[in-house]
Symmetry: C2
DNA sequence: CTGTAAAAGTTGAGCCGTTGCACTTTTTGA
DNA sequence: TCAAAAAGTGCAACGGCTCAACTTTTACAG
């Protein structure tokens, strides 16, 4: 009984799912700021306190756990195609992962969802924090990839800028072009001091 | 009577000052999160409603108006010493302005103040927003300085990264070294596509 | 099975920052 | 002198979030 532990966790997961579903439904329908946590709790037929036992904040109702995010980020650097520079690998990863932290990327209303996140300050900031939280891990991965000391400032700077580039990219009407330009800048600055790819 | 308008504005300014002083005192004494707006209002002998007539939020009690900030930022680019690159000018400006958005830079407890801002998430985020709010203006100033179109992506990227570099710099134990490294990266990436300084 | 104690879940009351409203007082300028 | 503007006040309320207490469910010993 180590993995699919009992019938209890199932109910718990179900309640959690009901909350996430109700929240997405209401938020997309009326707008994030026009829906209170009480509305979500009522729609899922639980109390507000119960809601906060499942999700640490109102914003978290919309995002899934970010555990994989860090691993994927580190892997993008470590397992990059041979000959590909680290900034290039990061540009690619960020453009791809852009659509991956949603609750359900397969939902037909996915476009509405991303628009809501982009236009709601609270959600935008929350998503941004989910990324920057892994800055230290990314800096370490970069340092390992180039054989630099683990607290190397150049690696820390690249990690910082690469993650912050996301904000610039997402709010631009042509994300792909913005990414190219932003990472071209990092690419040149980076290879100047790290000749090896 | 255009400038030192009457005795009324004096009282208003005085009330405002009382609030800022009381807030700083209490925050440094007990810690930002351990003091409620009610405590500050009581200490300044006004009602909570009045407090919010003077300051738009609890965080704003600690920072002065940021009107000059944008002008100084633009000026740092426009009036930089001849031969000095834009990234270099920005590095210098950010290192200098680092200590300038406080209420009273002359206060003997200034070190405690900066430490509090650095360690209190709400204040750290607020200060960060004060900076990034002027990103568009900075991007425009850069574009003008190099004769690029006003929506040039490279200029926007440099503006974005330069302002975001602040976070990296402030949390590092040796801000000066961190600034050198971060802006060296930007410098190389920037001059690669903008040969003229 | 049964009894029991920990764990999980739930609840209502309440804190904190913030806003709106109705009202009094002060200042200003005609 | 009078009226309009502005500053201040108290109160009630809202939204996000937490706490202490209570009820259910599960796990396990006998």
């Amino acid at each position: 009984m180590t993995e699919p532990t009992g019938r209890r966790e199932r109910k718990k997961a179900q309640t959690r799912q009901s909350l996430a579903d109700a929240a997405l439904e209401l938020f997309l329908d009326r707008g994030y700021d026009q829906v209170g946590v009480k509305d979500v709790a009522d729609a899922a037929d639980v109390s507000v306190t119960t809601l906060f036992k499942h999700f640490p904040s109102k914003e978290a109702l919309v995002f899934d756990q970010d555990d994989d995010l860090e691993a994927a980020l580190v892997a993008a650097v470590r397992d990059r195609a041979p000959g590909r520079s680290i900034p290039q690998a990061l540009r690619e990863h960020i453009l791809l992962a852009r659509t991956q932290l949603a609750v359900h990327a397969t939902d037909p209303r996915f476009a509405d969802f991303t628009r809501m996140v982009r236009e709601t300050p609270a959600l935008r900031d929350y998503a941004h924090r989910m990324w920057t939280r892994h800055e230290a891990a990314l800096a370490l991965a970069i340092a390992e990839a180039v054989g630099a000391p683990e607290d190397d400032l150049g690696c820390a700077a690249l990690a910082h800028f690469a993650l912050e580039a996301r904000g610039l990219i997402l709010r631009h009407p042509e994300p792909h072009r913005a990414a190219d330009e932003a990472f071209a800048l990092l690419e040149h600055g980076w290879t100047a001091s790290h000749p090896g790819s």
